[in-house]
Assembly symmetry: D2
Amino acid sequence: MTMSDEATPLAALKARVAAFVEARDWAQYHAPKNLAMAIACEAAELMELYLWMDAPASRELSPEARPRVEAEAADIAICLLNLCNVLGLDLSAAVEKKLAEADAKYPPDKVRGRSEKYDQY
Amino acid sequence: MTMSDEATPLAALKARVAAFVEARDWAQYHAPKNLAMAIACEAAELMELYLWMDAPASRELSPEARPRVEAEAADIAICLLNLCNVLGLDLSAAVEKKLAEADAKYPPDKVRGRSEKYDQY
Amino acid sequence: MTMSDEATPLAALKARVAAFVEARDWAQYHAPKNLAMAIACEAAELMELYLWMDAPASRELSPEARPRVEAEAADIAICLLNLCNVLGLDLSAAVEKKLAEADAKYPPDKVRGRSEKYDQY
Amino acid sequence: MTMSDEATPLAALKARVAAFVEARDWAQYHAPKNLAMAIACEAAELMELYLWMDAPASRELSPEARPRVEAEAADIAICLLNLCNVLGLDLSAAVEKKLAEADAKYPPDKVRGRSEKYDQY
């Protein structure tokens, strides 16, 4: 393994996903509608790992659970990067934009330590 | 905006997400169980954009639809990066590992242009 | 099998689900939060059956696919009925109320044959 | 309101859903693939109500929350009944069959009060 979050830009991950799809000629199946469904399916598989666990207990990741959570998180990321490839979407820019909007929507001094939805402030 | 998939390592995106959470003291709500649910909720919002659209039509992204798709894709990414922060998970390494496994599981010469699940080969 | 949609009120199905849970002392795990997650997980399993299929093709249910779709639809219903048991919710009344609201929200003469969301009318 | 879980056979609910769809000529949009997506979207909306709530707290349904939970539960049921209409599926029989299988899979004396998955027994 040579990739790490410290050193890997999303473009490198996107290129790896694109190469995987290209080698199998699978782009024909990857309409955004289908990829959005695939992301939701993978998200459900991640969620299922936590289904009967209390929220506090979910903070402790057992050595047996860690690789399963990592694999499901990776599946979500792969489907999401695939969608970005298909749509020509820059995910880093989209994240930055969304966080800037959320910064304005949820001012720290008003929402600090509160979980209610923003429209209640 | 200063971030792009070309130039931004995932660690920089994770740091932005962590700073957003930290400024609001919201880490207390972000048990992995809850974050897995949040990812699934955001994935459903993305999927809803494509609900009544045919798969072929979903390949064309109208100028009106693009910012909505970008915003939902960003929401999924933010929740996923948040989960990686909470669990100390390196997403790039997880993606690389999963793609290596998928490479072995779906040999290009056997699955080329076919969408059946791998266990049918 | 003795139950059929023609002759079975939801209360009879709810009683069967309650008996199944009771025999295993599983009510302790069935907080509404967890049951809502379970419904979402089962919904994703149903959806996965249609992931790479075109919408028109999904109208034809092959003899092999039928029992799988039935089993996933049943899983969703069981989790939903379980939630209704836990919350003391009358699902028939809730459905009737929701359809009455939808009747007013989407007047047949205005939305006939159109799939756009109601707020565009 | 005239429907209740005590007195309403599922066929009557299915007929109400069919009439709603028929009046709007919406059956053309209701391919099973799309309805499976719709169920998953509605399931996510129900789940979102419980997103930041602890599981124990979710057992208490406030007077304000009850109608929202009822409405989301009804939406899931309506989409599921719609799918059963489209596929000619008897949901009562499917639920009975699935519970009979689960009865055999999870023998009460072996799983009583335990939440582990059945394949660990």
